[in-house]
Amino acid sequence: MSTDTDPVTPSPAGAHHVAPPDIRPWWLRPKTFVIAAGVVVFAAFMWRFGGGDIRFSTEHRPRPGTTFDWDYFFALVPDMLRGIWVTAQATVAGFAVALVIGLLLALGRRSRLRVVRLPVALFIEFVRSTPLLIQLYFVYYALPDWDITLGAFVTLVIGLGVHYGTYCSEAYRAGINSVPKGQWEASTALNLGPTTKWSQIIIPQAIPNVLPALGNFLIAGFKDAPLGSTIQVTGILAFATAASGRSFDAGVEPYTLIGIGFLLVSIPSAWLVRRLERRIAYERIS
């Protein structure tokens, strides 16, 4: 992050080279720019290519009379991959929305004003304990009553974002509560302002506790994203439904295929999250 030559403290041979502390404000640090650029590129990419209206091919059919036709099964793979790609896009975009909404909800929940705190708490509880499917219907079919009409893909992203935003807000809350009381008291004793206290003391310590939960929500969101097929998002489930509709017993292969496709993504992801969890636990101890 910093340049090697430092005119003030030339490091003598054999001594440890100590990098000078970075004194730039956070919004001028290179890391910030890299992350911001990443977000912009991702957003632009999603805007341009996200959820593109896929037409699944219709040439393949199972041989009649077979319970499980392997040729048909393998012929479906390319379309399945296109479907899962759309589902994955919706998941990631929805999760990005959830991270932000979760933060807003968490702040609202901590508000000193009761008129903010209570409705936010009720909203979180309400969204968390009702089915995403009906929430999607609401966004898709009911919002146009107020002249808000969203495309299918955007509806799915918003639906996932709000639904998992409530989960994220609870994770943030738990993470913030996990910072020991002594840290808050020390911040007060050092007379740190709210910005410093949050950005330098509380959030850095809360993040490790929150990351595994967020990872799990990302996976959970991926498992809910196929619901988009109910509002005509051409994701993985829409693919299977379309393929199974081609003849009366064509359901076995596509549904088995998406099941396998799913596991191939979700099991390794779950494994990664658990590794992250263990590593964080390890770093806490040492």
Partner: protein
Amino acid sequence: MDIQLPAHYYDRLFEGLQVTLQVLALAFALGIVLSVVLGVARLSPSRIARSVSLAWIEVTRGISTIVLLFWMAYALPILLGVDQPSLLLMGSIALGINMGGYGGEIVRGAIQSVPRGQTEASIALNLTETQRLRHVILPQAMRIILPPMGNLTIEILKGTALVSLISLSDLSYEGVKLRVSGRLSPDAPSDAVLFVNILVIYFVVAQIINGLFRLAEWRVNRRFEGARNGVELSPSPKVTAGAGG
């Protein structure tokens, strides 16, 4: 804006709610059994039991509920050669299997959190492994199991909405049907009112589940705390302290 639906709408929705509750009850029963079996098997001394339960948990947690549901409704019957499977049963089993995967991990964690000394004391009292689990370990694990199990049950309640997609006439299904039929009549309530009402019904059911679990938690915790009556006390007349031999 009138937030209430016409009365005949509620009749239909409550009919659907009954199916929802049926599916929930079946899935819950299966889910609890699977949770205990898997949680115990994960800690079994037998290697086979451990690896089978681990694989089962990984797969059932890894797969999307809705994909599992469709597979069980539309692929499994063909593979097994069953002609007309009961969709209610298939839907409940799919949800129950899903619950069991998560529940198994909850049970495992709770069992592991019971201090080792409890197991050792049970061995010293010569209880069998089953007795140890039944009378010593699980009652204590209950305290840890109940809160996440309540959340899991609400997740399963939410999951029941998915059975509407395999044409079971649950609450969600009835709701969608009402929306479609309402489009033909000019004085039908708006979609927003309809869906908000459905959401509120789910919310109320979830709160009831929440309350039931709170009650169970309270009852379990009370065991650890208070003096209880119920066992009759009869100070023995025949033995005095210290006498013996």
